[in-house]
C-alpha cells in the first residue's frame, strides 16, 4: 500500500481513502465471506470495516501497517456480524459457488468435505485458517491480527487443520467403503 495514500487519508483526504478502499475491497470481501460463510453478513462486515477504517485512520501509528490493521478491523467486524446474525440464522444465505471447471481442489467430494468440515469450525478457528492459508500470513501476523498469543494462533490452525484432515479422511474411507460395497 502506498504510504503516501495512507498518510493523505489520515489527514482527511477522502479521495485517497477511496483509492485505498477500492484496492482492498475484493480481498476484504473474500476474507469476510470465507469466515462468515454468509454473503449479506460479509457485505455488512466489509462496509463496517471501511467506515471504521475511515473514522479511526488518524489513530493508525504506522502507515506501513495499514493492511494488517485493516485485517484486524475486518476480523472484529466479522465477529460483530457473527454475533448479530446468529439470532436470524434461519435467514442466513449460504455461500454456494458453482463448481469450477478445472477442479483445482481435486474433486467434488473434497470440496464438499472441506465445506462441511470448515462449517463445523468455530468462527475464530475459521478466521485463523483464512488468514494463514488464504491470505498467507505467518503465524506471528495471524496472532497479531487476531489479537491473540502466537501459541493460540498455532493451536487454532493446528486444530482446524486436523479437523479438516479428518473430514477429508472420513470422506476417503466412505468412498472406499462405497466402492467395495458396489464391487462386492
Amino acid at each position: 500500500v502506498a504510504r503516501a495514500l495512507v498518510e493523505a487519508a489520515q489527514h482527511g483526504d477522502h479521495d485517497a481513502f477511496e483509492a485505498l478502499a477500492i484496492g482492498a475491497a475484493d480481498r476484504l470481501y473474500a476474507i469476510a465471506r470465507l469466515i462468515l460463510r454468509d454473503v449479506p453478513a460479509a457485505e455488512d462486515a466489509v462496509q463496517e470495516t471501511l467506515v471504521h477504517a475511515w473514522r479511526d485512520l488518524p489513530r493508525l501509528r504506522d502507515p506501513e501497517r495499514f493492511d494488517a490493521w485493516l485485517h484486524r478491523l475486518l476480523v472484529n467486524a466479522c465477529a460483530d456480524q457473527g454475533r448479530f446474525r446468529r439470532r436470524w440464522s434461519a435467514e442466513v444465505q449460504i455461500v454456494r459457488l458453482e463448481p469450477t471447471t478445472d477442479d483445482a481442489t481435486g474433486s467434488m467430494a473434497d470440496r464438499d468435505q472441506l465445506e462441511r468440515g470448515f462449517r463445523r469450525l468455530k468462527p475464530e478457528q475459521r478466521a485463523a485458517v483464512v488468514l494463514h492459508y488464504y491470505v498467507g500470513l505467518p503465524m506471528s501476523e495471524v496472532a497479531e491480527t487476531l489479537g491473540i498469543p502466537v501459541g493460540t494462533a498455532k493451536s487454532r490452525i493446528h486444530y482446524a487443520t486436523e479437523a479438516l484432515r479428518a473430514a477429508l479422511e472420513a470422506d476417503a474411507r466412505t468412498s472406499v467403503a462405497a466402492t467395495n460395497g458396489r464391487s462386492a
Binding site: 477522502h14 475491497a25 467506515v51 475511515w54 489513530r59 492459508y133
Partner: protein
C-alpha cells in the same frame, strides 16, 4: 491426484476457489456515502505530545487523576452485595454503543482468564522419564508417541507430548501445559535450544524463547532455564521441555517446575544420567 497434495495445499486451493468474487459496487457506494458524512476521530498526537513535552508534570497529573478516580469510584460504588441500601444510588454509566476498533483494539476475550489452581495431583511419564504435579480437576493426556525435533518442532500442540488440559476453559485452547523430553542427539543444551528455536522459513515469530532473555531455574537439582512460558531442562543426554500455553503464568510455571523430578525414561533412547 488428491493423495499427492497435502491437506494444507488442498485447504489453500479450496479457499481460493471459494473466495472468488467481487464486492458489489453498491456496498462500496454505501460505505463511501457513510464515510463522506463522517468526521474522522483525531489521532493520539495531542495527548502524546502533551505527555512527551512535559513528562514529569504530566505523569503527576495523570497519577493524581487516577487516584481521584479510584477514590471517587470506591465512594460511589458500595460492595456489590450491599446494593443501594443506605447508599448513594449509583449514577448510571453511559455505555457507548459504538465500539471503537482502534489500532490497539482487539476482540473481547473469549473466556474469562482463570488463574490455575495449585499443582497437587501427581503425574508420571514413563515414556519421557519424569514426575510432575498438575492441578486437580485438569485432565492429563499422555503422549501418543515419542517427541522428535524433526517432526514435532513445528507442531505446536503435537500429540507427541503430554497434555495437561484445563477443562474449565472453553474453546480450542484447553491445553494449558505440555511436557515432553527428547534425546539431545549429541548437542549441548544451548545448541539444542537454538535448533528448536530456528524459525521455519515462512514464520519469523516461531519460537518466543529464541529472542527472549532466559532466566535460570533449578529443577530437581538440574540447571534449567526458562523464558515466558517455556522451560528447558537438560538432564543427562535428554532435554526436558515444559510449555505453558497461556501468557502471564510464570508463577504457575515456577510452581510446576518445583514439583518436577526426573527418572529414566522407558523409551529405547539411552538413559539419562
Amino acid at each position: 491426484m488428491n493423495g499427492q497434495r497435502s491437506v494444507e495445499e488442498r485447504i489453500s486451493l479450496w479457499l481460493e476457489e471459494e473466495a472468488a468474487g467481487q464486492l458489489p459496487d453498491r456496498v462500496l457506494d454505501a460505505s463511501f456515502d457513510q464515510t463522506r458524512a463522517l468526521r474522522q476521530r483525531p489521532g493520539p498526537s495531542v495527548w502524546r505530545s502533551f505527555l512527551m513535552s512535559r513528562p514529569i508534570p504530566s505523569l503527576i497529573a495523570v497519577g493524581a487523576a487516577v487516584i481521584v478516580f479510584i477514590v471517587g469510584v470506591s465512594f460511589l460504588r458500595p460492595g456489590s452485595d450491599q446494593g443501594q441500601v443506605g447508599g448513594v444510588a449509583p449514577t448510571p454509566t453511559a455505555t457507548p454503543v459504538d465500539v471503537t476498533p482502534t489500532e490497539g483494539y482487539s476482540p473481547p476475550p473469549e473466556r474469562t482468564p482463570l488463574p490455575p489452581p495449585p499443582p497437587d495431583t501427581p503425574f508420571t511419564s514413563d515414556r519421557f522419564g519424569y514426575d510432575i504435579r498438575y492441578p486437580a480437576g485438569w485432565t492429563a493426556t499422555p503422549a501418543s508417541g515419542d517427541w522428535s525435533l524433526d517432526t514435532d518442532r513445528t507442531d505446536a500442540l503435537t500429540a507427541h507430548s503430554d497434555h495437561f488440559i484445563d477443562d474449565r476453559l472453553a474453546g480450542d485452547l484447553q491445553t494449558f501445559m505440555t511436557v515432553w523430553s527428547t534425546p539431545l542427539g549429541g548437542m549441548t543444551g544451548d545448541e539444542w535450544i537454538r535448533a528448536y528455536c530456528t524459525p521455519p522459513q515462512d514464520d519469523p515469530g516461531w519460537c518466543d524463547a529464541g529472542a527472549a532473555t532466559f532466566k535460570p531455574i533449578p529443577v530437581d537439582g538440574h540447571d534449567g532455564q526458562f523464558s515466558d512460558g517455556q522451560a528447558f531442562i537438560p538432564v543427562g543426554d535428554r532435554m526436558y521441555v515444559v510449555t505453558i500455553w497461556r501468557p502471564g503464568n510464570e508463577p504457575f510455571l515456577r510452581q510446576v517446575l518445583g514439583t518436577m523430578t526426573f527418572h529414566q525414561p522407558a523409551s529405547t533412547s539411552p538413559p539419562a544420567s
